[in-house]
Symmetry: C3
Subunit: 463 residues, 3 copies
């Protein structure tokens, strides 16, 4: 069959986008309402109850800067991090943009449905915006595993299922098990990573080496990717602290993440040079492993982990991440048939699991003398008197197991759905290639770049 | 005549810049004062009036994060969005930088003169900074229409006139007509777009196709442009909400804009694929049309538009914007002789008008039961009891008409002023070319890039 | 001797990174504690002392947005500003990343040791994060002088010494002399610049012209550098105001910096065109000199400098900076043997000294009628009644002299330490070259870029 036809998006993509958006609009019309802080009537009504509360106390002023940092991570961070491929920059930024714009709407509904219904309505505000962006992050992590090997239609279909399961898993962890996971070591990173790894396993392409020459970077594409890396790195303290409780927990989470990332970066440079025969640094490590420290304090960051503890965790995370890129990823591909384009197992998978374990241990070790104030701010059941460090640690551990199960099962089912030959997936010969789904500027223009008037020519013109 | 001489900026540009800055400095010295929140004496004096007011309540903490987001949109957003041309990146970012730095100073004076005089002095603070950036945005929109076809001197002259008229129009709309337009669908986008379109019409170049080979993108320039797009997209919620009233209106505006943009993005991808014979996505659409949703809720965003309404508006905006790029822009050029380099009619013109209409309709439909609290926060005349939804809707509609008239008339006059042959405009053969006004790294250096030591060479060197 | 061996980082870099991080972790474990605003117990304990204080009043909400802006300047601003070299982008962003991640940890300890000990412990929170980033900025300024001529090991060693001396100098200025320098004209810019200039003087390479062909930009590298410039420019108001007192001083500092930078930008464009025989703008000037206005109001920005005064200072700073690049830098290299890759003398050195002088003059001229409220917010000794404008101005001037002395002496010693032949410094023939320390994508991949399927080819494939 004709390749151009088999990958043609002319009907598939518009149809899916329009149907999805119409469904979203209808559901938003039926179910979504402004919450107390965004509704003209309700906000003012609340004000009258309390003489001291005024417009300055709207949650907007305490959450919105964090939201914008998270938003930058989702759209610039993830989007540009994936532009490292030489000929897949349009798709990396563009499909990231598309599936994120869809996912955040769908996540608002799914998360609202599972844990935010008020008299049959979903209430929205800046906190729901952050949560929706978080859920979107999880989809983008999975995108990293299948990068270059999927059509935009496949990605949207993946997002439909992944967002739904994310919301279910999040509900089980946070509402049923009472787990803490403000920065999403489990809900976002572990879930997104193992879901994506299972999807790419099911979509295994034995002949992917036909596109091998495009599955690497060029000089400038690596610099574009560093834009993504640096933004993720800088704003990760905001990511982990965005939905913690107000006051010291939010402040502490940002601080812990800052130190964890700094220590992680030194470990990354150290091991990147160490594992290279010539002692040369590898951009893949710097772009990715230096971020693992943010992932690994996603659960314990809001706890009294201390800067000391954070740095140890960050150092470990950077180390296992570099070693994973060097030694584990090739094995996963050759032995387990997991083709993980961005190495999400090293950036989100292992560091996510590490973060979950650190969270469980930190919870279990919380000393009683401390908890009087400690759990008041961090743990949900503090006020109910149910507090018990050991059982808390246990619930955190169970949460990790549930997340892994949900992710692997969900990825398996979703993978098989994505395998249907109806989505216009790229052929093995044209993976990692923008030209399949994008109008790419032709060679003529590329050539022009060297044909503009040089100073000499311009002098001639003028004489 | 000699081209290098006719476009030489050696005297023209320094002279204009220095004269303008000296005038600005003198006027600032004579007219500008710190406002109550930035003045050491006044701020402390105010504090003593109220026992509860303290340093934490300075407006800085409630406006400055929004200001910084707007600032990023003006300098990175607009600047990089226009780098899509293969050989005009220095000018796009650089001239954007120059005219924005001038415009924000001039706008502070003009806006202060028209609606911020206190005993003969202009008071400045974070709100005036945001307003000045807004006015600057309008100039940068017009820049998009003439991109590649004007000298920096022309652009500065355009900015002088456009900023002045912007302030007049803004005064008429906000102070005389009492219109609402917090995100500037009318004052910023409609005004900037039709002003710029009229300027480019007057500056029509029949022989522009002599530079046609440079009037397109290359692979990397499209990626640079996506940096601009994504930053504009992410921070648009801050743009629309930056100067609304505190509390629920600001929160609601950010939320509405977020949903409008998300829906707009899905429409953009859908229609971009649909209008292409091979179903391929067009970077021009993604870079621009995906932003139309932010423009289109610039007026109604602070009202009780609901997420549902915002998504409908966003979806419409994305749709008309893509269709405009595909079908209308070529007609505007061939029939109306409007050479619109960036397609600002599709991103700011039509979506701006749509936003004005949505604002008028939303105002007119505001239900009485709602308005008790609703208008208190959003509409200026709420407390005076003059409230009437229908007349309010009417004033909003009149505001659109005034804006269109001011923009077209102002652009006409400014266009003729810019047509004088004294500004060093580029010849038809050298439009869209950095080399005219910039020292551009020569071919030798470009060549070097391929001549650095490869690993093999280095081995040889070392043996 | 073999070059590849002499510059091999395989043992040197990992060893140094791991040893440093282990030392940091041990010292953090022994010395660092959460401060009152980040500690679960202390924050809540404090709350109970005051009925009106609540979680919303945590300093996090008043400092963290500023911190994030500063953080962006350190990692994106400095990092990308230095990518202007054609073949040193990996190192510019990458080594910037590495030494910043190390410096902020080391600075936390050094600054805490010199002016933040509480019962033998260093207390950390968002203010210490900002201060650590500030100190890091100073190291990155020095990095600009030696860019392309040092190994990452040399840079880390430089950072160890520079951070330490920075903390000593800061202690002398702020704690002993009671100087004001919120934006760091002296502590950050003057110190970092003259330290770096002395280091590069000691490391003088007579045969550096062997790498001359790589010591320049290409078209795209200049655009990457503009990302750095624009982010530094936009967020400089946040930088200068990040650690001022709350309320009007913070607000005023941001405002003053905003106007100074705007005026500086017009001066930069004016003089860049004026000093070029063809009137063409030079990217080096735009990328750097346009920022000098931020440096030059780093001391006086928080004072009642007025927008008028700020614009004059900014205009002067831009002017001397461009003239410095054009006329002084070549002389410094040929006569004084100072090879200043990024021209930090023009961006940080002279504008820093200008800023110190402006600060001293502004302090000395503070009118008595004004100071009642003025010094209350800005000057440390206001409440103690020691206030005296003239002596204040004198202490500011002494502070500049101390800073220059510390920087030159520190740079001298550090330079000789860095001269030891054990750090794997690049040979004169391979300066400004990523390939020495990085795995750089080979030519094959670069070639591929032109070999992807064109539309025509794809049609053929499909037929």
């Amino acid at each position: 069959s004709n390749m151009a036809e088999s990958t043609n998006m002319r009907l598939r993509l518009p149809l899916l986008c329009i149907i999805l958006e119409v469904i979203l609009i209808i559901l938003f019309g039926a179910l979504v309402e402004y919450n107390d802080d965004t509704h003209a009537k309700l906000w003012n009504a609340n004000k009258s109850h309390s003489a001291t509360r005024d417009d300055y106390e709207n949650e907007f002023y305490y959450r919105y800067p964090s939201f914008q940092d998270v938003h930058v991570m989702i759209f610039v961070g993830f989007g540009f991090l994936m532009t490292f491929l030489q000929r897949y920059g349009f798709s990396s930024v563009g499909f990231n943009f598309l599936i994120a714009a869809f996912s955040l709407q769908w996540a608002t509904l799914m998360q609202g449905f599972f844990h935010g219904m008020h008299h049959g309505k979903i209430h929205v505000g800046v906190t729901s915006m952050i949560n929706a962006d978080f859920c979107t992050g999880s989809v983008l992590i999975s995108f990293g595993a299948v990068l270059g090997k999927t059509s935009p239609v496949q990605l949207l279909v993946m997002a439909i299922f992944e967002v739904t399961l994310f919301a279910v898993n999040e509900f089980i962890l946070l509402s049923m098990l009472g787990a803490n996971d403000a920065g999403g070591s489990m809900t976002i990173h572990t879930f997104g990573a193992y879901f994506g790894l299972m999807v790419t396993r099911v979509l295994y392409r034995p002949n992917l080496d036909k596109s091998k020459h495009r599955n690497s970077s060029v000089y400038h594409s690596d610099l574009f990717a560093m834009i993504g890396t640096i933004y993720l790195w800088m704003f990760w303290p905001s990511f982990n602290s965005a939905i913690t409780n107000y006051g010291d927990p939010q402040h502490r989470t940002a601080l812990n993440t800052y130190y964890s990332l700094a220590a992680c970066t030194l470990a990354t440079f150290a091991f990147s040079a160490l594992v290279n025969p010539e002692g040369k640094l590898d951009m893949v490590h710097i772009q990715n492993a230096a971020l693992a420290g943010g992932v690994a304090v996603g659960t314990a960051g809001e706890m009294m982990l201390t800067p000391f503890g954070s740095m140890i965790v960050g150092f470990l995370a950077g180390t296992i991440s570099v070693l994973g890129y060097k030694y584990l990823t090739p094995v996963l591909e050759s032995k387990l048939k997991i083709q993980d384009t961005c190495g999400i197992h090293n950036l989100h998978g292992m560091p996510g699991v590490l973060g979950a374990v650190v969270g469980a241990v930190t919870s279990a070790l919380a000393s009683p003398g401390f908890t009087l104030y400690y759990f008041y701010d961090v743990f949900a059941d503090a006020e109910t008197g149910k507090w018990n460090p050991q059982s808390r640690g246990g619930f955190q551990a169970i949460s990790l197991a549930v997340t892994l199960g949900m992710a692997l099962f969900g990825g398996l089912v979703t993978g098989f759905i994505l395998k249907l030959p109806i989505y216009g997936a790229p052929p093995d010969t044209h993976c990692f290639e923008d030209g399949l789904y994008w109008e790419v500027p032709g060679e003529e223009e590329g050539h022009e770049l060297n044909e503009v008037a040089t100073p000499n020519e311009m002098e001639k013109l003028n004489s």
